[in-house]
Symmetry: C2
DNA sequence: CGGCAAATTGAGGAATGTCAAACTGTGTGG
DNA sequence: CCACACAGTTTGACATTCCTCAATTTGCCG
């Protein structure tokens, strides 16, 4: 099993957006998803919205020709599965064994019955929109090193308060996932990790474990104040 | 004055997302915004959420070093100004004279009083999230010509049923706006327009007016099935 | 008609992508 | 327990797309 990530409030560069825990009323029993299993797929009718309790989910979208975009990573505290026209618009699978709390989406139809849930979801959706706006800037206007540095910093914030010490980041996703999240290729991710390593900014302890040696330098890189 | 764009239901490549008209209760009087004037700025406390009635708004975000990302264009039927932590996270100004209908955001706090408004906003937010997911794919994984073609097609859908005939698109935004929306430069936009023109796919009748000569070819280009 | 901002065009360069090869680590079966 | 196999990662050489900078051109408004 993987580390358990903290369920903290969060507002930053979109790896999904965390929100204060949704009110428990109308939630189903916690559901466990094996690593690699799908929670839902694009086009599925939306029956539930899910709060991630533990583990990490991956939301992806595909183009007909196979190009892929990772839309977000769902960390504990995130809400995933927002419907649009009653359907899911991404695939969602688990990068690690994960636990989610389902909220029946039909409860939304009759908002009068469930103002608290509705309010919480609205807040979650707003957070998500804000996080996605950050990600736009990232995808559209940042260089490879800025993207990777920003991404690592965001992971630090989200995952940093778990079992890991503050500057040791566990990456539950592959290089390809990072690439598809940042709009780059795996080769570029790999080379950019190499640059950060050579600059003494981080150490790749293990493929899935990165230690941030110079957090300030990483922040500088993320802003593009250097090179 | 500019053309009036239709207020139609819509779900596509994010230029903002249209939603069925929000219930009129708790809405303020329609407000008119001069071309170029700001509706709100990043960091402002959110007092209202707005439904675009007429005209076109521009939502932008800036990086400290001046890099800009156009987050969305707000067309009639779109809801703009979703709060996150009670604040606006983009600037919003008008590309044309515009009319908006404000909805008091405090009405959201006491959801019990206004389930219909809350429900409508939730739906709008979901639409927005879906549209933004499309835009992710666009920013992260599409080439310049695919981006521009997709963008024009989306405008067609949104603006095509207004005063203009179906394949004549009025662009209320500058080349720089398009570039900042698509994550490109004005030069690339210009050159890409040139390519589409040379390919006989469209005619640039006027800087702000484009006629689509071969819609199918444009769709093909948008998907990247060519070249 | 002149002036200015926006758009276009051109030449050259930088960043990232592509393709191929080598490497690493992990799990499996002998 | 070791060797092998495989998937994922890294590295290298090269290609391509898009960007940058500069020069023109266009369109708009006084």
């Amino acid at each position: 099993m993987y580390v358990t990530f903290s369920t903290e409030y969060h507002r930053f560069n979109s790896i999904g957006s965390a929100v204060p825990a949704v009110v428990p009323s109308k939630s189903g029993p916690v559901r466990t998803i094996r690593s690699g299993a799908y929670l839902y797929r694009e086009g599925d009718e939306v029956m539930h919205v899910y709060e991630v309790i533990e583990g990490v989910l991956r939301l992806t979208r595909l183009l007909e020709d196979g190009r892929r975009q990772v839309i977000a990573f769902g960390y504990p505290g995130d809400i995933v599965g927002f419907p649009s026209n009653g359907r899911h618009h991404t695939d969602c699978d688990a990068l690690t064994e994960a636990k989610v709390r389902p909220y029946c989406s039909s409860a939304l139809e009759d908002g009068t019955n469930n103002p608290h849930l509705q309010r919480a979801l609205l807040e979650a959706a707003f957070q998500e929109i804000s996080a996605m706006q950050d990600h736009f800037m990232m995808l559209g206007r940042k260089s490879a090193s800025e993207k990777l540095a920003s991404f690592l910093l965001t992971l630090c914030e989200r995952a940093g308060n778990g079992l890991d010490c503050d500057d040791r980041i566990t990456l539950p996703m592959s290089r390809a996932d990072i690439a598809d999240f940042l709009g780059l290729t795996t080769e570029t991710i790999s080379r950019t990790f190499g640059q950060l390593r050579k600059a003494g900014i981080l150490r790749v302890e293990h493929i899935y474990t990165v230690v941030i040696l110079r957090p300030d330098a990483l922040r500088t890189t993320a802003r593009g104040d250097d090179a």
